[in-house]
């Protein structure tokens, strides 16, 4: 007799458990099938790891309670909830296949199968850990996770893999054990830069043994045999931890008949507002459809059961949406529909994706004559025009106001800053009262990765507007659109050469992201002339004339770059039709040529430039430097920093590197492309309108930013209560600060809120400490300050 259920739920994560509890609550016959433990992903966390409850403002629906806490607390709460609600959970069963026939789903697992009316897939995206497929891999000392690194001491441990998980395990274990890391390839390209650097340092210093181009041949109880480039090697091994990633569940989901909108790895299947997929009766919830957070999964698990029962249910995020839309007259649903109809960019979003977009964004009303943002502002949000019109003032002083570009309802702007990570490239004026949807960069990036049409639309408009703002203002949009369709996107890795001096010029490049170094051979030496950040173009000189022209400089990528390439024939074709544009561009080319010859950098200033580029200073927006010819090592700067930041200095005067008389202390540079901001779960790192990057109080102390910062300027410190009045003896009686909770990230905040600017600079008695934009570094070389002046 085959078991039959009203609902079968695959996966006992927060979504699956929440759905199971609600099903039990409604007396639906149900089963939850789980390949491992309840909340397996959290189960596999390191012991006592902190589990976050983000986003803080999202309310929780349903019967499963959840609060941020340690792994153990969360697991205990959920296991108890499952027991109390009598949820029918079957653990350690592997669902291998699902078949739909005659309106019923057949779910095959383990040895048997069951049938169900409705099927909920809540299996997450972690997938099943990839195994090595070698003899001995099921021995008891072989594991696919590391629960408690403290449990190991003085052992021989092999870590297999080259990703972040493998590296992090190897590093933490190496503190008290003899650790080798087994890497199939020759490096760590998949890992975060910071992790790759840390493990390479550890291998160089000998604290971890690195085996490159090596695989595991077979595992024996006390030793493991490796296939190295020099043949088989036997190494002692008391524990082997393999972190080879997971097998993504996409194939399995597709085998159930669910369609994905694109073949990209980030794509998620589309579901309707009831989480139902294109297969009737098959529902998808949680990170499978792009909701990686625990609270979202719990809410969706609860809602999906109500939908199956046909009960009207208000989504948990409804309050957030209401809050966002309350400035508009009319019902929430009407307004949602209106916004959706007016914004073609978001046409292909699924219903839940669109709701998330709305509550993560803000509605803005602006009146005629107001500014939306100014050129060189630092904001990086995307604006969609729901109603109204704006005028984009292009960065060209010669251009009359009537040639400003007008855009209207359904259009968007702000993508240049968003995609390049740099300051706003134009000023936007409101032409008539307008309603905008302003969306944070992070949300748009999530959509770029998951919805193809969003990425395509942004890419196309970027090329078009890059050409329009930097090179051809005044040329009619229609012609520019034609040209921008001919542009190809070109990716460069750090250090790649775009073209070489003396090559024949066959293309023209607009730098979309990153920055390039321009260098020329002088007296047999390759001397850096300057660097150009995103938004500039290179290679115009040799493609302006129909005769073959040679490149006059070498262009190299300083960091990973994207450029847009336009071939010489297309370019010539275009300038033939637009003599104005041709004249304009040749004027710029001539200026550049004269500048190059007249202000050829000397060898020493080129060396300084190379030092700056090497230390990433060109990416800095505002960097603290110290003139060693003036610094008397009094450390007043550090004391000032500590005194204004709860007693903890965020700069290390002597910690950085120096070149000639310029010393670059370890202190935040407020990068143009801040890596620290890339992976901040609560979005606590934000850029202020004036360019500074600050850490807000919502920091949860995860430490991602600290690891991602290539310059080591972020520290994890405990919050200390503001100190009372300072007296001479206060340090004698200072109460011991009790350290509570996880430490939080701290770094230079440019003394935000302090009148007069950064305390470090203002406290330097000799004028040695300076906060400068990198472009000003050269000017400084000639004219330093001094107290005697």
């Amino acid at each position: 007799m085959v078991e039959h259920f009203d609902v079968a739920i695959v996966g006992a994560g927060p979504g699956g458990v929440s759905a199971g509890i609600n099903a039990s609550h409604h007396n639906l016959s149900h089963v939850v099938l789980e390949k491992g433990e309840i909340a397996n992903t959290i189960h596999e966390y390191q012991l006592r790891k902190h589990v976050m409850a983000e986003p803080g403002k999202l309310p929780l629906a349903g019967h499963l309670s959840f609060r941020a806490g340690t792994r153990e607390q969360v697991l205990q709460t959920w296991e108890q909830a499952v027991r109390e609600a009598n949820v029918n959970v079957r653990q350690r069963v592997h669902v291998s296949r699902i078949k739909k026939s005659e309106g019923l789903f057949k779910v095959f697992y383990g040895e048997g199968h069951c049938t169900c009316q409705s099927l909920i897939l809540a299996l997450g995206v972690g997938g099943t850990p990839r195994k090595q497929g070698v003899p001995g891999e099921d021995l008891p000392h072989v594991a696919y996770r590391l629960a408690d690194p403290d449990a190991f001491q003085d052992r021989d441990i092999l870590v297999v893999g080259a990703g972040d998980a493998a590296i992090e395990h190897a590093l933490v274990l190496a503190e008290r054990n003899r650790v080798s890391i087994i890497n199939r390839g020759g490096g760590f390209p998949r890992a975060k830069d910071a992790n790759a650097a840390r493990v390479q340092d550890a291998i160089e210093s000998g604290s971890i043994r690195g085996y490159y181009n090596t695989t595991v041949a077979r595992i024996e109880p006390e030793q493991t045999i490796l296939n190295t480039p020099n043949g088989e090697v036997t190494v002692p091994c008391s524990h082997l931890i393999a972190r080879l990633g997971g097998i993504p569940p996409r194939k399995f989901i597709e085998s159930c008949g669910v369609e994905f909108p694109s073949s990209k790895p980030g794509a998620v299947p589309l579901v309707d507002s009831h989480y139902e997929s294109n297969v009737k009766g098959l529902y998808l919830i949680g990170s499978l459809i792009g909701y990686p957070l625990i609270k979202q999964a719990i809410n969706q698990g609860h809602e999906v059961i109500e939908h199956i029962l046909g009960n009207p249910v208000e989504p948990a995020d409804q309050v957030l949406i209401k809050e966002k839309l309350e400035i508009l007259p009319g019902s929430v649903q009407e307004n949602l529909d209106r916004i959706r109809l007016n914004l073609p960019l978001f046409r292909d979003l699924s219903d839940p994706q669109f709701r998330e977009l709305i509550y993560e964004s803000s509605l803005r009303v602006k009146n005629q004559g107001q500014l939306v943002f100014r050129r060189n502002d630092y904001s990086d949000t995307l604006f969609n025009i729901i109603e109204g019109r704006v005028l984009v003032e292009l960065p060209d002083d010669d251009l009359p106001e009537d040639q400003w570009v007008e855009i209207g309802p359904g259009d968007f702007f702000g993508e240049m800053g968003l995609l390049s990570g740099r300051r706003r490239s134009a000023t936007v004026h409101v032409a008539e009262q307008s309603l905008f949807l302003e969306t944070p960069r992070k949300q748009i990036q999530k959509l770029i990765n998951s919805v193809d049409s969003v990425k395509r639309a942004l890419d196309e408009i970027f090329v078009f507007r890059a050409l329009q703002t930097s090179i051809f203002p005044g040329v009619h949009s229609k012609f520019l659109k034609d040209l921008s369709r001919k542009a190809a996107l070109n990716h460069l890795k750090k250090g790649d050469v775009l073209f070489k001096e003396g090559d024949e010029g066959d293309s023209f490049h607009v730098i979309r992201k990153g920055e390039v170094r321009i260098s020329r051979r002088i007296n047999g030496l390759n001397i850096t002339q300057t660097y150009l950040p995103a938004g500039n173009y290179v290679g115009e000189m040799s493609v302006l004339n129909p005769e073959p022209g040679l490149r006059e400089a070498t262009v190299t990528a300083v960091v990973a770059c994207d450029t847009l390439v336009i071939g010489k024939p297309d370019f010539l074709d275009f300038v033939k039709q637009h003599p104005d544009a041709r004249e304009r561009i040749s004027r710029v080319a001539e200026k550049r040529r004269i500048e190059n010859l007249a202000f050829q950098s000397s060898e020493s200033s080129a060396k300084l430039l190379d030092f700056m580029l090497g230390k990433g200073l060109s990416d800095a927006d505002n960097v603290l430097i110290i003139d060693s010819d003036l610094c008397v090592s009094c450390d007043n700067c550090e004391q000032a920093c500590a005194a204004t930041h709860n007693g903890c200095s965020r700069l290390d005067r002597n910690g950085g590197e120096s070149f000639s008389f310029i010393q670059v202390p370890t202190s935040c540079r407020h990068c143009e492309n801040p890596l620290c901001m890339l992976d901040c779960p609560p979005d606590a790192l934000t850029r202020q309108p004036n360019g500074e990057i600050i850490i807000r109080d919502s920091c949860i102390g995860c430490g991602n930013c600290q690891q991602n910062c290539p310059y080591g300027v972020i520290q994890m410190v405990h919050d200390t209560p503001p100190q009372g009045k300072k007296s001479l003896f206060s340090s004698w009686f200072k109460p011991r600060v009790k350290e509570e909770g996880p430490p939080k990230a701290a770094k230079c905040d440019m003394c935000i809120g302090l009148k007069g600017g950064p305390a470090c600079v203002r406290s330097c008695p000799t004028g040695a400490a300076m906060r400068v934009e990198p472009a000003k570094l050269f000017e400084l070389a000639g004219q330093t300050q001094g107290f005697w002046k």
Partner: protein
């Protein structure tokens, strides 16, 4: 604010010239002295100047203050301090004697001179600090010297007498004392020396390689010692003057208080 224009220097010199001019034009009945109108005025100016100078110490420690930059304050501190050397005697009509008033002036001169000494140190010594230019700091240098020292010691183990004689000639144990670091001149290093070469040739063949290695190590050690002297010396002179300047200025303040009190009381 821009201190590149020598603002404080120019203002002070202008003001000082004016004061000198007035002093020169002033011919009071009872001779030039502190109790004339001009004398009182200059006295008040000098007192204000001294209070401003002391105020620098407070401003330097008010890290969150937005009242000017410490750089600006120091610039004012230097030039007003120097001006006081001339203003104070004009205040008293250049009447000196064995009294508390003259003691005050002597202290003022001592404070200003110690300050000028410090300012000169601030001007010339920062470029000597190696650790601010990518070099090792004092602790690193000490460790490196120590390591070389123990390397040399182990080289000496179970060697012939002539080897030990060579070592005694070229190497002396390193003791980082105050006089050794700050007040002794730089080491000339181990230069080409016939005597050393002769000593090495006199050593048994099998020990010669190690002897050459020892000479290299000694040269390296001397180089490091010179760096250490330079670094420690720069730090020493950058800090030591304050131990005169600050106590002297506090003594000055006390004497000035006595001076003001006694002048008005009697």
């Amino acid at each position: 604010m821009n201190y590149r224009q020598y603002r404080w220097m120019v203002l002070n010199l202008l003001f000082l010239s004016l004061l000198i001019l007035f002093y020169w034009l002033d011919h009071p009945v009872n001779g030039k002295r502190g109790s004339t109108f001009l004398g009182y005025t200059y006295g008040v100016l000098a007192l204000a100047g001294i209070l401003f100078l002391m105020g620098f110490g407070l401003r330097k420690r008010s890290y969150a203050s937005s009242r000017g930059t410490v750089l600006g304050w120091l610039s004012g501190h230097v030039w007003i301090g120097i001006s006081l050397i001339a203003i104070v005697p004009m205040h008293g009509g250049f009447n000196f004697g064995p009294n508390v008033h003259t003691l005050g002036y002597v202290l003022l001169v001592a404070v200003v001179l110690s300050g000028v000494w410090g300012a000169c140190n601030y001007l010339y010594l920062p470029s000597q600090i190696l650790s601010n230019r990518g070099g090792g700091n004092i602790r690193d240098l000490l460790v490196q010297i120590q390591v070389i020292g123990s390397d040399l010691e182990s080289l000496e183990q179970q060697k012939s007498d002539s080897f030990i004689r060579l070592m005694n000639t070229i190497d002396s144990p390193f003791k980082p004392t105050l006089t050794g670091l700050i007040f002794s001149g730089k080491n000339q290093g181990l230069t080409k020396d016939k005597e050393v070469t002769d000593l090495i040739t006199s050593i048994p063949r099998k020990e010669q390689d190690e002897a050459i290695q020892a000479v290299r190590l000694v040269r390296k050690k001397m180089e490091l010692q010179n760096k250490l002297k330079q670094e420690a010396g720069a730090y020493f002179w950058l800090k030591i003057w304050l131990y005169f300047h600050v106590p002297l200025s506090i003594a000055l303040l006390a004497v000035v208080a006595i001076h003001v009190f006694s002048v008005f009381y009697f």
